[in-house]
Symmetry: C2
Subunit: 234 residues, 2 copies
DNA sequence: GCAAAAGTGTTGGTATTACACCCATGT
DNA sequence: ACATGGGTGTAATACCAACACTTTTGC
């Protein structure tokens, strides 16, 4: 079953830290390697950039192949280029994080082009196995970046279902920031921004009082953000 | 006089946005190209990563060759990999910004290894010429990053002389953030952090009231930063 | 004495923190 | 009825923004 990598001089790859949120936990998608090197280790999903495609396009293609999904929120965060990070040759990797909505009717469907896309499994970020290559370092770097971005970009809503409760939103913030937040203060602040739209709908199938559902209003967010920008320009 | 580049398949380069601060203005270092392509255009200084050196080491080497200086504050901020960004072949470039103290006794002395390091000139970031390749985009990206970092890293002190006045510090903040700040509020806030050490010394050779000089106290800063971290962990 | 920049406090508003109880629902 | 999470307000404090005049020095 072992594939064998040809020796090579130098290559550029993309590695992806794919974040998802499920059952109150922040998770990332990992594959179990079946090929040399690092056989049977867990690793970040990734692939090689082609000679005639841009880094950006490669990242989109690779993420599509890995997940079957399009138009995900993704962002480059660092390029890792130690000489010996890959035992088979020089591989410089450009790392991206991506945010996806986990839902179980609709599992990730890797597009099986080239037999390279393997089935991926979700792992809680608080309980990761050792990762192949320098992937642990890459993950840490990406997670850090995510934390920082949370303060000034509406990335949380890329990880939640379209309709969500404030408690879910809070749990997600807690998971990303790695700290507990006060419920009342959190709600007050979030609602004060004015970009959450309260729906006429409640949670279903819960064995306790159902919570109101909310939606992220992208247009209002854009308006608010824009006026902030122009205010700071004057 | 024209050098001629050989055609090549693919290469990795480092490009540097080297920031300096002088006469109240934020500047970057540009070189005027003498070779094809983009002959006579201004460009960010940079060079090719060697087969057997890490990205990080390459960045340090190249920056040293360009400036003659060691141990500069530098930071990778983005990798640019459009297919046609370089007319002579595929060149993926990893961009770094670096911060240096401009002082005129001690001009930048490029180390002339390989004839590639050319004399560089300082240009105000508010009045840049058109740049070769995608270097304008690279610059903008790096400048944005610098703005953001200013909020949570003590990078200003890498751009100022060891001893500086509060007015200089403020001018630098204004230049990076592209907005005016209130003098009293700025001073109050800076001094409240507690990492500026007031010296028993004043400015010399000025034709007006001499200002007190201050020094950045790295040890105090580290202490403060550390206790902040541990406070947010609890 | 005048030009040029240094230096200095107060106030009002806004944002952040800390904190505890009742409510609605399903079992 | 009870267990589970949903939902709510207030007071104290810290932080930020706006604002104008006096002082020192070199010429």
């Amino acid at each position: 079953m072992k594939e064998h990598l040809p020796k090579f001089e130098s290559a550029i790859s993309i590695d992806c830290v794919i974040f998802g949120f499920e059952a109150g936990e922040l998770k990332i998608s990992l594959i179990e390697r079946s090929a040399e090197p690092y056989t049977d280790w867990w690793a970040l999903p990734g692939n090689i950039v082609k000679q005639d495609e841009s880094i950006e396009a490669a990242a989109e293609r690779i993420l599509h192949e890995l997940t079957g999904l399009h138009d995900l929120h993704m962002e480059q965060f660092h390029t890792f280029g130690d000489v010996n990070r890959h035992p088979s040759g020089r591989v410089i990797t450009v790392a991206y994080y991506a945010l996806i909505r986990i839902n179980h009717q609709d599992e990730l469907r890797p597009v099986n082009q080239e037999q390279l896309a393997k089935k991926a499994f979700w792992h809680s970020v608080n309980d990761l196995p050792k990762l192949a290559f320098d992937h642990t370092e890459i993950f840490k770097y990406g997670f850090d970046q995510l934390k920082r971005k949370l303060n000034y970009q509406p990335i949380a809503f890329e990880l939640l279902p379209e309709k969500f409760t404030l408690t879910q939103l809070q749990q997600l913030y807690e998971a990303i920031l790695c700290k507990k937040l006060d419920k009342r203060n959190f709600r007050k602040k979030m609602l004060s921004y004015g970009f959450l739209k309260e729906l006429d709908e409640k949670q279903k199938n819960v064995s306790f009082r159902a919570a109101k559902l909310y939606k992220f209003d992208r247009r209002k967010y854009a308006k608010i953000f824009q006026s902030e920008l122009s205010a700071s320009e004057k």
